[in-house]
Amino acid sequence: MGGLQKKKYESGSATNYISRNKARKKLSLSLADFRRLCILKGIYPHEPKHKKKVNKGSTAPRTFYLLKDIRFLLHEPIVGKFREYKIFVRKLRKAYGKAEWSGVQRMKENKPAYKLDHIIKERYPTFIDAVRDVDDALSMCFLFSTFARTGKCHVQTIQLCRRLGVEWMNYIIASRSLRKVFLSIKGIYYQAEVLGQTITWIIPYQFAHDHPTDVDYRVMATFTELYTTLLGFVNFRLYQTLNLVYPPKLDGQGEFSLKSECEEDYALESESYSEKLAALSASLARTVPSVEDEEAELDHFPAEGLNTKKKKKKKKKKKNKKLFEGLKFFLNREVPRESLAFVIRCFGGEVSWDKSLCIGSTYDETDETITHHIVDRPTIDKQYINRYYIQPQWVYDCVNGKILLPVEEYFLGVTLPPHLSPFVEESEGDYVPPEKLKLLALQKGEKPPEEDEEEEEEEDDEDDEEEDDQSEDEDEAEDEASLAEMEEKRAQGKSLSVKVTPGKVKPENRMRTEQEEKAEEKRLAIMMMKKREKYLYDKIMFGKKRHVREANKLAAKRKAHDDANKPDKKKKKKKC
């Protein structure tokens, strides 16, 4: 046997990895700087497959990085900036120690700063990549913007986060791309569709902060630094796609300047503009006057079936986007203003609030054209007759249901129906809560099977005629919708009612025979199965049935629960 004896840990995985400390030394950075660099550049630690080999025989748990990644980091120009900053801090400390105030001043003026633009470009080579990854950035920005300015992080960071968050919300409003909202116990989840990408983010409730001690604020601040830069560039590009002016400007400035007498109460002159933007009550200025979308879609070809389906979907979507169009909301002071204003404006509604609540209110409570007044207290003293007084959940449920839900269940002092999560996608055979079933039925345009409601309405008949009118209107609308639905079904070839007409006998027969044939085939196939396959098949079928059985059980339970609760509810209502 010839050749040199191979030494251990000189090739293979041992040389592909590098421990964190070694990497840090190789870059000659402090640990904090190294961590920051890794976050900014998107270099993550890696778990080796064979730790003992990588760790040169030791089994001590360590953080490893891929050596190639670290080599890549060596080329980063920011590394030099980090070192510069270190020297800067040292000099500054020295100057402070020697009380050389002019020197301190001069150094502070020449503070080294670095840019992240090239890193963003590098990590997200195309705009769509950036949009796809904006979830994290949004959540972080909205989170940081709610922080108190008490020194947990830089005040400037908070301000920047706030600015970017407002810009994003304004974009969502302008593009009408909000899809789902979910009020959870943690915060408010939003989902929007931006340029074909679904983007989910969470916004904390206002004033809900304790600062957990087990979170590394420095790491979070670094992430925020990266994400604010990313979000800024994304916002700019998004504004461009809609021909909006960036930085955002309010449309119809003259109107606003007239009402500016009471603005001094809210904000300094320098800040009032950004505050007005943050109020979300006015639309933004465009670089090019907006063209009506309808005109663009005039030329459609009604011939193809597939096309029409798509078109229907599109139409539905468009209708969804204009859910609140023509409605005028007024927010009472106890409801979450920002969230509601955002959601309502996203679907084309008009919204205002009390002048003393926040800057940017557009009309007063006394306005006669207000259709919905959102209140979150059991009773209200002064009620106007021509508007609905509803609880805030109605808005969110409407958005999730994609239709205007009947308002009766959301009146003041009424026990609300549960707020269902729009993020749950039920597959076939799952248990579906009855509220959702009702919603689905409403979406299809059917009249909800509500015995209780009708009884109550009869009882309440004398109280408000208007409401009745409204419900009648709704009924009509629903009738129309159901008609449309029937037509649609007919077009698809499903039989609604059994009608024996000579012309249609044959196709139906063919269908049935086809189905029968299929069933027969399936039965034969089952018969022909081998023992082992049969066993598997049976198992699968059993599992499916069990699933259904469980769902049925849950439904029955729910029914029992409801039945048990019903008398109580009725009593309560009668008392009211």
Binding site: P45, F127, D133, S139, R163, K186, V215, T229, P418, L420
Partner: protein
């Protein structure tokens, strides 16, 4: 100098020249006997030539210059003589003016004594007036003048002009890099197609300013989990009864598991139940004293038995016969084995079906295992990896109990912290490694002592 000297000599040679010390003339007329010396060496020239007359003459010239500021012979008559016309009134007027001036104008006598009385100006210090690098600087200035004439300004001048122009227009030329968290920072279209390569790529490469291409591998995410995980439907502020129960059950199970683990740990760490009682301690103290007699005699016996452990070296040698026998046996065994194998092979022909069945079975098993492994790998992709000293700890589920649920949005009390949620999400997605807050460990105990001043007050 030479010219001056020559001039002096010429002056002295003239017939009208008046030497001040007339006595010297008389001495010079005495003629001495000449001594004969070699004149081929400079040394001897200096030594034996008589230069006294010349020196005397030069001394006289110097004296004249010192005393009068030039040769007397060359002076005009006006400067040497004046016409005495008796006393005038001027003296009185002069006195009056001097008196008026007072003491201040009169110089001190000591100063007058120290005043140089020579009429010759002191020679200037040449070095004091010399400029270092004068030639170079002259050349530089010449060059600058030439460039200025051509219209080219030096860099400093240009910068100054720029700065003054900027100050006039109100903009700052020197671009201080904007901090990343500046709330008013501007953004631009980062992804527009026309981002210009500002310089020649070769130049950038050579000056190490070209950015290294990011490997595609780095753009893959370390986990398949979504960035924002939406809470279960039971986490709604006004949840559906069943989904809320589901969430509660889930949380309950997590709690149970935790409790079980804790109990197990407690059980393992529990101290043995039999604690020391009075009786047991007494027994322990007495133990050696009572039963010693019974134990002692047994010990030596045990010792003797223990010593005969392990193999002994006294194995007997095998005889020739034995060896042969063993060898034959070995060969026989081997032969039998080979025969058996041949027979087995023949028999396998008849076992074909069962063999094929077993092969099939094995294949199936490997396939199943492959599938399993694949599933496991898929599941691993969404699992938090072990990235450091600490394992990822799943955060507690955020749950509100049935009686904690808010009746309206207004009275909702948010649960949990989103900051922590985000932080944990980053850890879960393997973006950062789980870490512990570095604890402060004091190496030495603090020593407290009262200050003297404090003690004095007491």
């Amino acid at each position: 100098m030479a010219a001056v000297r020559k001039h002096k000599r010429v002056a002295a040679a003239q017939p009208g020249f008046l030497p001040i010390k007339s006595s010297l003339d008389g001495n010079s007329s005495v003629i001495k006997r000449r001594k004969r010396v070699n004149k081929n060496k400079k040394k001897s020239w200096n030594r034996f030539s008589d230069i006294q007359d010349v020196e005397e003459f030069l001394d006289d010239v110097r004296l004249q210059e010192r005393a009068t500021g030039g040769l007397i012979a060359e002076k005009t008559d006006d400067t040497l003589f004046f016409v005495d016309t008796g006393e005038t009134d001027e003296k009185d007027t002069q006195e009056q003016t001097t008196v008026k001036k007072g003491k201040h104008s009169k110089p001190l006598r000591i100063d007058l004594i120290l005043q140089p009385d020579s009429h010759i100006q002191a020679p200037k210090n040449v070095l004091a007036f010399q400029q270092p690098n004068a030639k170079k600087q002259r050349r530089i200035s010449e060059r600058a003048a030439k460039l200025a004439a051509m219209g080219v300004l030096p860099r400093r001048e240009k910068l100054l002009q720029l700065r003054s122009a900027a100050a006039a227009s109100g903009l700052s030329v020197k671009e201080h890099p904007v901090a990343n968290n500046n709330p008013d920072r501007a953004f631009y279209d980062l992804w527009s197609a026309g981002t210009p390569e500002t310089a020649d790529p070769y130049y950038l490469e050579q000056t190490k300013k070209k950015l290294v291409k990011r490997p595609d591998r780095l753009n893959e995410k370390p986990s398949v989990l979504p960035a924002v995980e939406v809470i279960a439907p039971g986490g709604s502020y006004n949840p559906d009864f069943f989904s809320h129960q589901d969430l509660l059950r889930e949380a309950h199970e997590v709690e149970l598991k935790k409790q079980k683990a804790e109990e197990k740990l407690a059980r393992q760490l529990a101290v043995n139940e039999d604690k020391a009682t009075e009786e047991s301690t007494f027994k322990e103290q007495v133990e050696g004293l009572i039963e010693e007699e019974e134990i002692e005699p047994q010990e030596p016996e045990g010792d003797t038995e223990d010593t005969v452990m392990g193999p002994t070296a006294t194995q007997e040698k095998k005889t020739e016969k034995q060896r042969k026998k063993e060898k034959a046996q070995r060969i026989k065994d081997l032969q039998r084995k080979v025969e058996r194998q041949v027979i087995d092979k023949q028999q396998q022909l008849f076992q074909l079906r069962s063999i094929s069945a077993s092969v099939k079975k094995q294949e199936q098993r490997t396939e199943m295992r492959q599938a399993q492994r694949k599933v496991q790998q898929e599941a691993q992709k969404s699992m938090p990896r072990r990235l450091g000293r600490l394992k990822f700890q799943t955060p507690d589920l955020d749950v509100q109990l049935s009686d904690e649920l808010a009746s309206s949005l207004r009275s909702l009390k948010p649960e949990g912290s989103i900051l922590k949620d985000r932080f944990k999400s980053l850890q879960k997605r393997n973006i950062i490694e789980p870490r512990e807050r570095a604890r402060f460990n004091r190496k030495y105990k603090l020593k407290y002592s009262e200050k003297r001043a404090f003690r004095e007050i007491e």
